[in-house]
Each structure stands twice: as C-alpha cells, then as structure tokens.
Symmetry: D2
C-alpha cells in the first residue's frame, strides 16, 4: 500500500482525495491545508486521515511515500522540489511550473531520485481523449492538419494569472498527446478589459511542424459554457463536444482531397468528400480513477507516466511563450 499525502484541499484537492481513497493500491494518509475551514471539511470526509496546517510537519510525516500537490501554480516548484528531495513520488497539478527552467529542474531531480513525477493532465485519461487517440493511431484521420478548441465559460477570475494559464493547459496537453508534433511558435491575443492587469479572454495560435496548427479560444467571460474541439485530418475530421450529455465524439467522413499533378496544383482545385458520421461508444470510467491507478502502477512497477514531467514541460513552454506574445499583441514568439 502506497501512503499518499495531499497538499491543498480547495477546489480540486477533494477530487484527488476521493480518487486516492478509493484506489486499492493507494492510501490517503495525510492532508495539508493552510485554511482551518478546509481542514474541518477534510476531517468530516476523512476522519482517520492525519491533518496538517504546517507544511514542515506535513513533510516530516515519514509515513508518506507520495505527495499530491493541488495548490496554486506559484507554489508548485517549491513544493514538488521538496517532495522529491525528501524522497517522495509526486502527483503535480497542471500547469506544472511557472517557468521552463523550473520544470526542467523537476524533471532532472525526479530522474536523479528515481521517483515518479506525474503531471495531472486529467483530460488525457478521459475515455473521450483516449478514444480519439485510438482513432488517430489507427490512421483513420489520415494526416493531421489542425486542432481547434473553444473552452469558455463564466468563471471566477483568478487573481494571480491570466486565463491562458488556467484553461489553455487542458487543450495544450490534449493536443500534445494526440498530435505530438514539434511546436515552433506561439501567437496570443487578448485584452485587459477590467483594468486589473488580468486577461480574462484570449486566443492562442500554435504553429507546428508540417504546417500543422492549433487554435485555442479560452475565456472566463462567456455567458455560456462551450467545450468544442475540432480536429482535422486529411481523411476524416472529429468534433469533440464535451458539453453534450452523450455522443461527445463524432467522427466525420469528410476530408479535403488535393490534386497532386502539376496541372492539378496549378488549378488549385480542392475537392471535398462528404460521407457518414459515427459516434463511437466511450468508456465512462472517471478519468481521475484511471489516472490514480496509473500513478500507482508507475510507482509499483517503475513505469514512466503517460503525463510525465516532459509532457508538463511542453505545456509550460507554450504558456510562457503565449504570455510573451500577449504583451506583443499577438506577435509570434519562438519556442526554445
């Protein structure tokens, strides 16, 4: 049994606690939070778990084999570093860190200490994204052309970060999993409507190798919740609408056909094939349950997580570049 300590019992922490406590290989052994109210809530749900208000006391709990970190991004690096240095496996919320060097340091440290470092890109573990991956890997979509996602809702403003850091990690991690292409440049636009320096609405473009491209629209100021992702291939295209009660994945037999002879190219003709649509059956296991099992499996069997430090780093690179481009009003920023 792997003893897991959780830092942060705010919005997302309770979901981790529940999934850890239900996993047969993991034991929720401790919870740490600065807020007395949150600790009281934790006690009501998990009366036998050790509760800590002080971080040092928490880290000194020698029973803990692994540490799950569900705190604001500004604290990720420090907490994850300490966890690794004290010999614990780490489950780290997204986005992994605030800077690229921080992410690189954590990756190196996890390797040195031979510990599992899982970055919580939850969507990668959903039945929907795994089904899309399966369809792409079978070659059904042909050559990958684009990823285009709208992820907007009326959300509480984060006080310390732009919307890009809050919502875009979902799409960047999904895209990186489905279309693991080299990313070249990032353009991001948005505006500080409210005069508080925070961008609540933004458009990202990620330029990748082979002329593939990603467009991501994120917003906290939409009157309605939209979760629509279009994925375009040369043979088929997908609509992934996470807001539907069923049939969240629709695969369209619609593609663009290009002529390849000189004359054809000269005429620039593009023809369309239009055919059937199908909506595959989706595994409805909770993503966090699968991710918890995967975390335990990586610890027990020395495996590399699907969403490891490198996956986390890819997301951080894009966020950092997007932040720069935002200040340049959309001018492209190169990815290292």
């Amino acid at each position: 049994m792997i003893n897991v300590g959780l830092i942060g019992f705010g919005y997302w922490g309770p979901n981790l606690a529940r999934n850890i406590s239900f996993n047969p290989d993991l034991e929720l052994a401790a919870i740490c939070d600065f807020s007395s109210d949150r600790l009281k809530a934790a006690k009501q749900h998990y009366p036998r778990v050790n509760l800590y208000k002080d971080l040092d006391d928490f880290f000194n709990d020698t029973a803990l084999d692994a540490i799950a970190i569900a705190t604001p991004v500004a604290t990720h690096f420090k907490l994850a570093k300490k966890a690794l240095l004290t010999g614990r496996h780490v489950w780290l919320e997204k986005p992994m860190t605030e800077t690229v060097p921080q992410a690189e340091e954590l990756i190196e440290l996890a390797e040195q200490k031979n510990k599992v470092l899982l970055v919580d890109h939850t969507f990668v573990y959903t039945g929907e994204v795994r089904k899309i991956k399966e369809v792409i890997d079978k070659g059904e979509l042909g050559d990958m052309i684009y990823y285009d996602s709208t992820r907007v809702n009326l959300g509480l403003f984060q006080q310390d970060i732009n919307v890009v850091w809050d919502l875009a990690p979902h799409d960047i991690s999904i895209m990186d999993y489905l279309m693991p292409f080299k990313k070249i440049e990032v353009s991001a636009t948005g505006s500080h409507y409210y005069g508080n320096g925070i961008v609540p609405k933004s458009l990202l473009t990620i330029y990748m190798e082979n002329n593939t491209i990603a467009h991501i629209n994120v917003s906290w100021v939409s009157p309605v919740k939209i979760r629509q992702t279009l994925i375009g291939g040369s043979s088929k295209m997908i609509l992934y609408d996470d807001n539907q009660p069923s049939e969240k994945i629709k695969i369209y037999d619609k593609g663009v056909v290009l002529g390849h002879t000189m004359e054809e190219l000269y005429r620039l003709k593009v023809q369309y094939r239009v055919g059937d649509m199908y909506a595959p059956k989706i595994d409805d296991q909770e993503a966090l349950a699968l991710e918890s099992s995967h975390f335990a499996d990586c610890i027990i069997n020395g495996k590399k997580p699907l969403t490891d430090g490198k996956a986390g780093l890819e997301v951080v690179k894009v966020l950092v570049a997007a932040e720069k481009s935002l200040k340049l009003k959309g001018a492209p920023v190169q990815l290292a």
Copy 2:
C-alpha cells in the same frame, strides 16, 4: 419604378434577383453573366428580363437606373466605378473592394455623382442583428466589452482569396454595426496546409478603443457548421447562434461586477451576477427583402444607406490589415 440591372448570376446573384423582382419599387430589368449556362438559368426564372453576355452592352442599356454587382471581389472596383460614372446607383457585394484606396475612391465618386452606394452587408438587415442592436441601444448590455464569433463550415475553397476575405466580412460588418468603435490594430493567424498558398482557416483579433476587442474564427475546413457569436457587456451578455432552428438570440443576465475603491481594485476581486436568460421574438422577414426596400427608399428619398461605402471601407481596412498580419504570423498591424 427603379430599373435594376444585375451583374453575376452565380451563387449569390439569384438571391438578389429574386428579392429585386419581388420588391414593389424595384424592377429587375437586366442580367449580365459571362456564362451561357448561367444566362440560360436566368432566362428560365426571368423570361422577360434582358440578358447580356457582354458587359459593354449591359452598361449601354439606358433603361437601367441602378446596378447590382454580385461578382468576385477582384472585379468590384472596376464595375462599381463604371456604374457610378455612367450615373447609376450601386448595390455592391461584400467585401466592397480589394484595397482601401479603391473603397475611398468609390465613396468619393458616389458623393460627387450623388448616387446611392449600398454595400451588401446582408447580416445587418437580419431580424437577429437588428434585435441585438435594439437591445444594445437600450443600454441593456451596459458597457460593451467584446465580440467573439465562430463562423466555420466545410466549404469549397475559393481559388483566389483566403478564408478571411470570404467569411470574416460578415462578422466585421455585424460588429461594426453593433459596436461602432474606433479600430486600432489587427492580428491574424492561420496556415497554408495544402501548399496552395490559400489560408483556409484563420483567427482574427481586432483591438479597439476602450480596451474592447473582437475575436473572429473563420474556417472552410470544419466538419460541422458553427455560427456562434458571443457579445459581452458589463451588465448582460448575448449568445447569437445562427445555426439554431429557433431562439437564435439568447440574452443572459450575467455580468461581471468590478469593485471601484482603491482597496477593491487592490484585491482585484471580480464578482459575477448570474440571473435569468430570455430569448426575444425575432422578426423573420428575409434580410434581403428588407435590404431591397431600404435600397429603394435611399434612391427615392435621397437617404444614406445603413451599410454605405463608409461601412464597406471599415471592413476592407480590417481585411487588408489582417492579410498583412497573416504574413507576419500574428504580429499586430495598425489600421490607418
């Protein structure tokens, strides 16, 4: 009765022909097209109308008081200029022209000749856009914050222009009508997937005065048709979904509330008000029918069209800047 001659009986021309012929003040007097097939089709529907294959013959038809131009954008300037120079009122398809100076020249010419120059921004005449305008003018939305539109479908590639020139004029003209703010800079991104130099998918950001902003997502390579426009105000927000069979306009009593004292600003708190939604009844008159009546009214009573040359120029300015920004991978381009 105003005699109207129509140039171009391709995709859009037949809609103009039908609406002109049903208008009590307009008479469809002549149709000109280069294609014998299209002229044959025109004859079947309008057996009594004069048909021309030759432009000079058409322009020499002295019966014509007004000329409607429904041809590719590259021909707009030349045809509209000739129409004005020969003393006709002009109904010109969007986008108005290929360049800013061309648009400016047509505006000046129309004034000199004292002729009506209507640019066909059809959406401005829909019941939906007029209802939104009415709601905004009443002040229901509070201060205008953003316009965000997704206008994508699987469309035939235009051979001579990027998707921006084809689809974005709809949104730019709608936005300019609803939020007539000074536009400052434009950022546009996209990619040439198919190696033919044409961008089939693009994201635009228009920076406007008062930190207001517009995001426009246009695409010919989406497996599904999406027509979603979000319009955000400080008091209420609107979802305009043109793809719904009914309730296309939904007005949400959802807004962001900002604190205004120093301490409040310091804490950067943003609170949300969430309330009811309502979907107003929409006038279902065909937009082109209303636009035709308006064209006739302008001619008869010497009025200025709602969508005049200046409105057309606003759209052209944005398109020209977007085209430049596309080549710069999103770097912002100033509007003159």
Copy 3:
C-alpha cells in the same frame, strides 16, 4: 409533355406548382382556386398558366392530362372522382378521403379507367425516410418492434377537423411504408379543451400483427416544434429527428437480447447491447421533386405509384378508427 392542372393554391398548392413547373416531363397548364387573391398570386408566379375560378371551366379544359388536388379533405372524393371520370391521372393530397368507402371507390375507379392515382404522402419521398427504408430492408434493425413519433407544434387550428386528421397522416404513411404490417386495432385519446368540439392534441396507439405497435403524439398546442421519431428493432434502433439542421437520422447499435431457453425465460432476464451510433449521409433532393418525377414516370410507363390509392386507404382506415376511439376515450377500435 404531360399537362397538369392544379386545384387549390393555398398553403400547399404553391409547392406543388413549383415542383410541377420545374419537372421536365410535366407542364403546369392550369390553376383553379375560389379565391381571387390566390389567383392573383398564382398569376404573379406563373403568368402563362390558365387560371380558373370556376371548377367546371377547369375540368372542361381539354388540354389537361392530369389533375393535382390540394384542397381541404372534405372535397377530395368529389374532385378526384370527377378527375378520374373525365380521364385524368390524379395527384391527391393526404389524407385521401374522409371515409373508407370513398377511398375504395377511387381505387376501383382508377383501375377501371387505367389512370394513375398518387396520394401525396410526401415524407415517403424524403431522403431521410428512404434511407431508413434502405437500412431496414438490409435487415440492420433485426425484427421490427415499434414506431414512436412526436409531431407537435403551435399551429393554427383547423376549423373542420381534429389534429389527428391533419398531422397523423404523416406518421401513419411513413410507418406503413417502413413497417408494412397488418394493422389490427387503434386507440386514440385527446380532449376538447377549447369547447369548440375540435381536439387539438391527441395520442394514438396502433396495434399491429406480431405484437408490433405504433405510438403517435400529435399536437397543435405545443410551445415548441418537435419532430422526433424512434424506430425500434431487435438489433438496432433509430432516432429520426426532422428538426435538426443535420444528422437527422441516427442509427444506434443498441438492442435488447432475449434468452430463449426455458430457464432463461423463467428468469425473464433482458440484456442490453450498447455500441456505436452512426449518422448516414442523406440525399438532400427535395421530396416533392422526386415525387413529381415519380408521378410522371408512373404516367409515362404505366407504373404503380409507391404511394398509391391502397397506401392512401391504409391511412384513412386508421384515421376513421382513431376518430371513433377518441369518442370512446381510448377504447380500442378494430380495423376492418
């Protein structure tokens, strides 16, 4: 060329006129209507067609080879009989007649006179219904179990008939085409809310051989338009939603599996198979255009219409039984 005369230029007649006039084998030769206003409208669209206000004059027009009847149901029998007796082919609106003997007399007369008698069950000619028929005929659905349709909207009250006569013919004719089983009994319920003797909302159940069953919900007093038809088979099931802009037909790989051994039956276990869904591409030709071609083909080549008098009679039998059952508050009424 077959010369067609049309009686009735009200709500549906103009659609027939348009499709007849566009068909290469049919010529719209005459239109008859009691209303001067309707005749004026007819003249505007079809300036060369003979217009009649008097029925006798219309029937005496010896140029007419076929007569299309788009008038209230109470007049169908008399007009269709006269048309057949005067040697014309007949296109007759649904429902065919008010009584079963009337329908039988028209069928017999058409056979005697060797004339085509087509009953206008338009939905049978839609791409959607033809696609469902194709899927059923391939055996994809397995054994047919049920048909269940909701066809409701806010409609103007007919002054002379219950909603059953207005809306149910669509579903009865679709079902009869897809599931041509022997119909045994009919139960119908509804209420006279408005004290005017007219039932604006009704539920029908049609009991058929092999325990198959149809449920039809029709209403003129629904705030929203719903057009949902569920078709259940032992292997797959269909949702046909005519109100969707696309993907109107969805075929679900969901079926009920029954055990067949004694023990299995004893335990009464029913298992479900749940799988993928697909939405086939639908031919989008206008139903009336296809129906017009079919009418011409039947006349020219002496064929039997897909929706002939016998198909019309099946619908009338159900309507007459439903009317009786309505008065008995749902008690079942046998079909002759």
Copy 4:
C-alpha cells in the same frame, strides 16, 4: 438528532444514505440489506453505521427513530406498516404501494400513530419543478390546459413490474403537484413485445376535471434518453427538458386566444399569440438534500410532508387504473 435506519442499499438506497448522513438533523444509524455484497459496500462508505442482514434485528434496533425504505414496491406495504406499528417515522420509496387499500391503510396508520409518512417523490423537490410551481402559482400560465411528458431511455427491464410502475410515478407526482386537479379516468396502451408478460413501453392518458388532460409516454426501449415535459396554459406554455445541461425550464409567451362572443364561437376561430421566451435561473440544490431537510423539519415540528401519504395514494390510484386499462388495450378506467 433523529436516528434513521435504511432498508435497501441497492440502486437508490446509497443516494438516501448520502443525503441522510450529510443532513445536520439526521443521523444515518443503521443499514439493512439481504445481500452480503451490498452490506460490504455500505460498510466501506459508512464504517460506523450498524449493519443488519436480518429484518427483525433491524426493527429491534431501538435507537432508530425513523426508517427509510428503498426496496422493491412489492415489499413497501409490509415494511412501512411494521415501521409505523413500531413507532417510527417513515420515508417510503415511490410508488408507495401495490394497491389502493394498502396506501389507504398506511395513511390511516400514520395518522393514528402520529408519525410522519413521506413518500419519496423526489422530482417535487427539484429546483426545476419548484420553479414551475412558482410560475404557475403566480398565474403566469393562465388556466392550466395540459401536461405532456416523454420519459424514455434504454433501461434494464424490471422483472416484476411494467414500465408504467417504474417511470410514470415521476410524472404523475410532478403533475399532481403542479396541477392538483381531480383525476377522472385513465387510458393506457402498450404491448408485450418480448413475450415475457412485461410491458416495456407505454402511453398513458389521464382525463381530469375541466377538460384538462395529461399524456405520459414512458419506455425502457428507446435508443436515446428523452426527458421532455410540455405544460400548456391559456397564457403561456412551458418546456421542461431535464436532459439539457442548462436552461432546463423555458417559458414561452405563446398561448391560444379564444373568442368569447357567440359569433366568435360560431366561427371557431383560434388565434395565437407568439412572443418572447425566458429561462429562469434555477436553484441547483440537490433535491434529496432538500427533501431530507423537509423530512427532518416535519418530524421535529410536526408538519405534514409536501409529498405525504395522500400524494402517494394519488399516484397509486393512477397506476392501478393504468394497469387495468393496459389489459383493455386502452379502454378508459374510472378512478375511484
């Protein structure tokens, strides 16, 4: 603190357990189930609660003040009777009993013993139904005309009861709460497709005073889940679509206007008013949480439950009549 014992930890019992355990006035003190597996699951979630496999032992637990019964309907009467006879308050699953006399006996017994008898008509406690009630009580809908509900999905067959007993109680209880009119007769139709004596799909009509009427369509054999309820009034009409992620209640300013003079009635004209729609904000508190508080409040303060034995009896009366009508193929059955 009120100690509650729960019988049945199958499909619905765990929801009751959770809501009882979170309520500040209720204490989940004991769980009884025949299945060792279910008791094991109960222990995992509620380690401190007394678990019973034997009913007598459970009833002998003198700590229990109230008993919640979440077992098959066939056991409701016996268990609820014993609970009342042993002096406990009762929370009873719907439908209340199998027969009308059983329901009447429980009502009488609860009164004699002065105990609370709450029948779990959960939907009555949802934000949606409470909002509709509020709108109706304010008179917004005018005179109530009809209730029409479609409640279908692909469900596991119950082995002992028809679909009517499983799904219709939801609609009968909602309707009885919203439109508390005298019910007069019931007609029900359906078929035994699968030869096992169970009706998996049925249509109900309930005739009520003042010509008001209810239509209820229930099915376990639909490929898709539909939860659509239309409620018609003389001034406005409601669509309650429980399958939508948001805007579940839409209130349409659409109504039928009847003439009231002799001449108007003679002409049988019915006019429609069509206006705006609005979707009110809905309280999203979990229905069972509210219902649990209400149960505690009734016990503590001697109040009558909103869904008391009489409400339960109304539902049983309709179910019993529907069962009879089903055997008569829809012939109407009087309600006592």
